[in-house]
Symmetry: C2
Subunit: 354 residues, 2 copies
DNA sequence: TTTTTATTTTGGAACGTTCCAAAAAACAAG
DNA sequence: CTTGTTTTTTGGAACGTTCCAAAATAAAAA
């Protein structure tokens, strides 16, 4: 049988540095020098070699280089929830600086699963990352990144912090942001203000709630623990929180939400109860995702600038990689309240109309 | 000067297979065998070696292995816009199957820039990807992936197709989806139906518009080219499209939108013009992103199941990687119309009220 | 015991780079 | 033409794996 129906299996091996060398009549060392743009090599030679490189379609094998140099151009990024715009934008910010620094990133989604997170970090490690940026899944412990940190690979933890971890940290000033938001609502005349969304086990939640509490007591407004309404930190969670609130006899007239996703959900939930967000009820979100300004009503929110935060995180990581030494640094980025339409002045509730 | 203030620079080299071998009193080959789970090695030996592996905190160097085997466990994924939930979910779907197949992914965002896309693909190639999934930036040409494909690395193109490219393709049935959506609107009594969002240069746009056109003429409804309202394929674009529409003397009573993002924008735009989406105006989106079902009104949309699509794409790629041969395959995934609240029956416009 | 067979282990080459010390070539000065 | 200097090029070892043919050991058969 001469006629093979199978597809031809190219055993053409990748052209390597020595193929170029042979073709150019120089040694592999010289080709290597050219590749690194070394000034040591004669212009004439450089030219000849460069030409061959293009002609033969050579592609640099960074893996082989890493083997020798023990320093890759790869960073790892693990994010707890890529489907949440906040984190997607965070990732895009990182992507920008990583890419323009000549690195590539492994970028994975842990889906809030510590197991998957552990797995993917291990996998990245085997593949030789030079550093890691982690936006930890709920329930992550300092131990989960210990092996990495111990082996001298810099780690930057973002958004949620990880007490006790040997890593740098970059978080937004959640406390101050929440405080500013509540002060603003109080300034508008609101007195019964809820906090919606989130679960107790994250630092983000507790910091924001602390800001909420402190701002209220600072204004002499008594705290009502019922007004802290837990829910999933998602749009659906916001809807659920509103349902929970509707049964209260004395309802809040405004709410600070854990994040913008929850805030949008709260808008949805209010609408299905025929309350117009921003008119009958004041809403403030947290994060300032892109949709916040085009939504109707435009969302008043605490702007965290996720892209900018991603960029800073990446810069911090690259700095540590290049320094070759790990300085544990903690950065708290400042936030600002962006006032738009969704935080209306309170309207009197039925029982209050004389 | 004996006192150095600098940080200690660990020159502890990564423990390797031969360190384990030495410690266990066997050869490196044996350790390698254990690592690959080979049945050739004696249970007693395997046990001893495995113990040492844990104890010494050995981490496998996949880079070195790749060098020898010329086959990595890395795939590349490049997506045109990660901040768009559709693509984020697509990526998450891929992540799931890639990860559970024991691979890791380079995942990058091209931001619709062909240059960045070219760069990042090149970078991934140098780092030794075994395959690539590409959701191409607008304006991508078949040539952009030619070198990859020529060197025998399988490429799967998703969402937007790339005519003439040596790659497999996975797209949704945009034509049929649009047709079904329009038929439904017609069934509800709408006659003046717009198509909103998108620019002419993408196949996605033209396929969906073709479905829109065909469904209309099939029902004997005359086409009105003004009713095809171009805009950026984003939430902001949707808002803009509505503004453009409001000046028409005879306005549409419903619209099919290029995607869900545009549809949400259209809702926003209508609200700022005091039209209640789903009541005064019927809206159908495209994609069925997660927010679609919790939004108010819940969005009627053509469900594309981005996660599922991502999964299929990844499966297809892995299949080709393992097959070691490239079968150019084209898959058109079917879509289904999910009817929710946003597509209301039409209301008579002022001038039509007798 | 010796031979045969089955099981387990092993050294060394190979993969594609970088690095280094040293060789070669080119140029300058005497 | 020598010698000294500077510029350019080079071979080979090293990085951490896998693969292979062959060696060593253990078990079974004679």
């Amino acid at each position: 049988m001469w006629l093979q129906l199978g597809r031809l299996h190219l055993n053409r091996t990748r052209t390597s540095i020595v193929d170029i060398a042979r073709a150019a009549g120089v040694s592999k060392s010289t080709v290597s020098l050219v590749l690194q743009g070394s000034p040591l090599v004669n212009d004439k030679t450089r030219e000849k070699v460069s030409a061959l490189i293009n002609e033969l379609g050579y592609v640099y094998n960074r893996g082989a280089a890493n083997l020798r140099q023990a320093k890759s151009k790869i960073v790892g990024i693990v994010v707890n929830d890529l489907t949440n715009s906040f984190f997607a934008e965070l990732a895009v910010g990182m992507d920008m600086v990583v890419q323009s620094a000549g690195y590539v990133q492994f970028l994975a989604h842990s889906g809030e699963s510590v197991d998957r997170q552990r797995q993917v970090i291990a996998s990245m490690r085997e593949n030789g990352i030079a550093g890691l940026i982690l936006s930890p899944a709920r329930g992550t412990e300092a131990n989960d990144i210990k092996p990495l940190a111990d082996s001298g690979i810099p780690v930057v933890v973002v958004v949620r912090n990880l007490p006790g971890a040997k890593a740098s940290t970059l978080v937004s000033d959640n406390y101050a942001g929440a405080k500013a938001a509540i002060r603003h609502l109080i300034g508008l005349g609101h007195r019964r203000i809820a906090f919606m969304g989130g679960f107790v086990d994250t630092a983000v939640f507790s910091d924001r709630v602390r800001g909420y509490r402190d701002a209220l007591s600072e204004a002499g407004i008594p705290l009502n623990d019922n007004f802290i309404i837990h829910s999933a930190p998602s749009r659906a969670g916001g809807v659920a929180a509103v349902e929970r609130m509707m049964v209260f006899s004395e309802r809040p007239t405004a709410a600070l939400c854990l994040n913008d996703a929850v805030a949008f959900g709260v808008c949805d939930g209010l609408r299905s109860n025929d309350i117009e967000p921003g008119k009958g009820f004041g809403i403030i979100g947290f994060d300032d995702v892109i949709e916040a300004k085009t939504a109707v009503p435009a969302l008043t929110t605490v702007s965290v600038d996720p892209q900018g935060m991603g960029q800073r995180a990446a810069q911090l990581l690259l700095k540590q990689i290049n320094a070759g030494q790990i300085d544990q640094e903690t950065i708290v980025t400042s936030v600002r309240l962006v006032v738009r339409q969704s935080c209306g002045a309170p309207v009197k509730q039925p029982e209050e109309l004389a």
